[in-house]
Amino acid sequence: MDALTRRRFLRASGIAGAGALVTGGAGMSLAELLRTRPDEAPAWTRQKVNRLVLVTLYGGNDGLNTVIPYADPAYHSARPELAYAPEEVIRLDADLGLNPAMRRLKKVWDAKRLAIVLGVEYPKPNRSHFRSMDIWQSASPSRPATTGWIGRWLDGTQATRETAVSFEPVLPPVLAGQTRVGSCVSYRGFELPSWIDAGTVSALGRGQPGEPEMQARAAMSYADLITMEHVIHGADKAVESEGTVEAPTGPATATGGDSEIAAQLELVARCVEVGVPTRVYSVSLGGFDLHADERGAHQFLLGQLDAAIGGFLDRMARTEAGRQVVVVVYSEFGRRVRANSSDGTDHGTAAPVLVAGYRVAGGFYGEQPSLTDLDNGDLKASTDFRDVYGSVLASVLGAEPARYLDGYQPHALPLFPPGR
């Protein structure tokens, strides 16, 4: 696959927004929903941690070269061309360290706000990008599902459309429910051409009784365009007028320029700061499927990720709303322990999940998989991915995990201690 395994990967997957119905019927648009925003802060804002930013790394991120078992001789012998020498690694403890590109996340680690959950995977790993990503996003490892785990939470809470927002080009399956679906918002801006006015576009966005579902969704995309123009402009203004962010913090600040992940997180930051009532944001970075010449390209991607998340977390630490945010970073699988003949790696299994935020209890969770006790050349998982989701559902979204994890009873990870 391309070095750019794209974020726009929605394809023949069972989810793909299939069957997800338009919220509240075809006539309801985000604009109308936003106008119902309460004057007083809703109850959930009193939770210590209440907003989730899901960062999806498409293509299969090489976990062993992200959180590196640098002290293990087996690491160096399995992938001599790809391995980082111990002196290159940013050490976290006597066994594990971060990729040299992850300098900012090291600072987050030092501040004890970065949790690294080790060896995370679902049962019976699948090495297809598409199936594996479906499983991560649906949280349904045993059978294909038509909904994402966040989508089911949207269903269960009868959430409004702004509750979950994606800044990716297409709606990720994780935000698709049966009756509710997240909103998809571009980071490229919403300005209308000069020759058309908002009223005309809004008129195109009115739903019609009996209209086919896809046609209704096409209409809604115009209504949403007007809404998002309004929201994003509102975000701009509020940032300036409230002065919650000092001057240098803008689109290009401390994020290394216009990389897409940085642009997406910039929008999340603005929305959080002005109090847009979104609970779940989905952003992504593609390009991790490095079957050949992996090392430099992988380090470049991790550098982008590090700069974007590091900058975002710094910014979030400055406001109370920002301190309630947690970032979760995952990929559809890790990669084979042994390098292939092209200085790359083929599809593998378990990998670390990163959880970061002001109120996250930093440190390692779970166990680093052995590099010698392998399952057919692949790492054995030590943590079920639903244990991470369960902790997020319970502590961030205030939900009962089993209800949205198909009955799975997660082992809660103490990622969000009450005192912090």
Binding site: D2, V185, W195, I196, L204, D224
Partner: protein, 422 residues
């Protein structure tokens, strides 16, 4: 049923012109299916858009250029890519054999190879010719496993005896021939061995077999044991019952419904016509289940753009270069630049295209297109006629009636929810 004929033309091609629609209605459904899938004689329209001669890829002559040469070479490559992009959009627009062009577009999405990694417009065009010339799916697959663009895209040239790179083998099974669930991890690893030994010759634009890198040992794949190589592996795959079914379901996914599964009965009927794609499509188009999917398919951006150009009589070959660049950038903004699928899994589908971000880009793109074509006074009825729309909803009709500017009226027609869905 006249409505069925409009549906057929919209799905089988890129958007019928008013005269094509009238002719098809006069001919009837069955005759139209036959004319689409077995068009008589050469494609007269397409003769004005012959496949371009690009000249050599600069890197083929000088594989190890200086920095200065590299800058010039990359500029040449960008220009060559612009040429083939313009040509393909032009060909889709002017071809009379619309179903042939639409099927090629399907195969491009099926073997989803992107120039963003391959870099060479020549190799992309070579792949395009291969897809165009293949008589059926079995022959196509034989040629594609040694197609240099596909091989490079999936790191096949790095797949050598002793340390296989499984990228090509895996996607050959999962995305191109069998579908997930019809093979094991063991099969993928062994097939990776069977595909070793091919490297890319940029000058001849071919894959060349190098026996020294080929793993000639015995392999057990899908229960069969032999000294498999690329050709015998493809033969094996073509004999698997899963393969015709998988191709049938992929055709259904792009021509009938991306949200509902193919009915098992229809899948078997289409599979019986394998490996001839035209015969499989004939079975699909002749089935009631196809007609029942009316109103469920979202036009892909290229289908939308080419459809508008056909119906408004805009020829990409005649568009000024700067404007054409804007149109192609617009397609990229919608998520569908020709020769650059976002994933080996192919293009997105259905509601994934209907984002607010796409709505904004589509408006701007429609404005540029309409400026190239529309003059004079139009009514909402004229717009419906030109765009082949059966009826407007009250919403759209009311909005169109308010417009005093014919160009804005046409823009609203081309971006209307009614026009975006077939």
């Amino acid at each position: 049923m006249t409505d069925d004929i409009a549906l057929l033309l919209r799905r089988a091609g890129f958007g019928p012109t008013a005269s094509e629609l009238a002719a098809a209605r006069a001919a009837g459904y069955a005759t139209t299916v036959a004319a689409l899938l077995e068009p008589p004689g050469p494609d007269i329209g397409a003769t004005s858009a012959p496949i371009p001669e690009l000249g050599p890829d600069p890197y083929a002559e000088q594989p190890d250029p200086s920095d200065d040469q590299r800058r010039r070479f990359d500029a040449t490559r960008a220009d060559q890519l612009a040429q083939i992009t313009r040509w393909w959009l032009d060909r889709m627009t002017v071809a009379n054999h619309q179903a042939v062009e639409r099927l090629l577009f399907f195969w491009h999405g099926h073997w989803a190879t992107s120039v963003t990694k391959v870099k060479s417009a020549q190799l992309m065009l070579t792949q395009h010719r291969t897809l165009r010339d293949a008589p059926d799916f079995a022959a196509m697959t034989q040629r594609m496993v040694v197609d240099p663009a596909l091989v490079y895209w999936l790191d096949g040239q790095r797949n050598v005896k002793g340390a296989a790179n499984e990228n090509l083998a895996r996607e050959l099974f999962e995305l191109f021939t069998l579908g997930i669930g019809n093979y094991t991890e063991h099969d993928v690893k062994q097939a990776g061995r069977a595909l070793t030994g091919w490297h890319i010759d940029l000058r001849s634009q071919r894959c060349v077999f190098a026996p020294a890198y080929y793993d000639g040992g015995r392999k057990t794949i899908l229960g069969s044991t032999a000294d498999f190589g690329a050709a015998s592996l493809v033969d094996l795959l073509m004999r698997r019952p899963a393969c015709p079914r998988f191709i049938a379901s992929r055709l259904w996914y792009r021509y009938a419904s991306s949200t509902q599964p193919i009915p098992a009965r229809l899948r078997e009927a289409m599979a019986a016509a394998f490996p001839a794609p035209a015969a499989m499509l004939r079975t699909l188009f002749s089935d009631d289940a196809f007609r029942a999917t009316r109103g469920t398919m979202v036009k892909q951006p290229i289908e939308w753009l080419v459809g508008v150009m056909r119906q408004l009589r805009i020829r990409p070959a005649n568009i000024p270069a700067a404007t054409l660049t804007e149109l192609v950038d617009g397609l990229a903004g919608l998520g569908q630049r020709p020769f650059a699928p976002p994933s080996v899994g192919g293009w997105p589908s259905g509601p994934a295209w209907l984002t607010s971000a796409a709505a904004q880009v589509r408006l701007s793109l429609a404005g540029k297109l309409v400026n190239l074509a529309v003059d004079g006074r139009l009514t909402p009825e004229d717009v419906a006629y030109l765009l082949g729309i059966d009826t407007w909803t009250n919403r759209t009709y009311a909005l169109l009636r308010q417009q005093r500017n014919s160009r804005l009226l046409m823009v609203l027609g081309t971006v209307s929810p009614e026009y975006l869905v077939t």
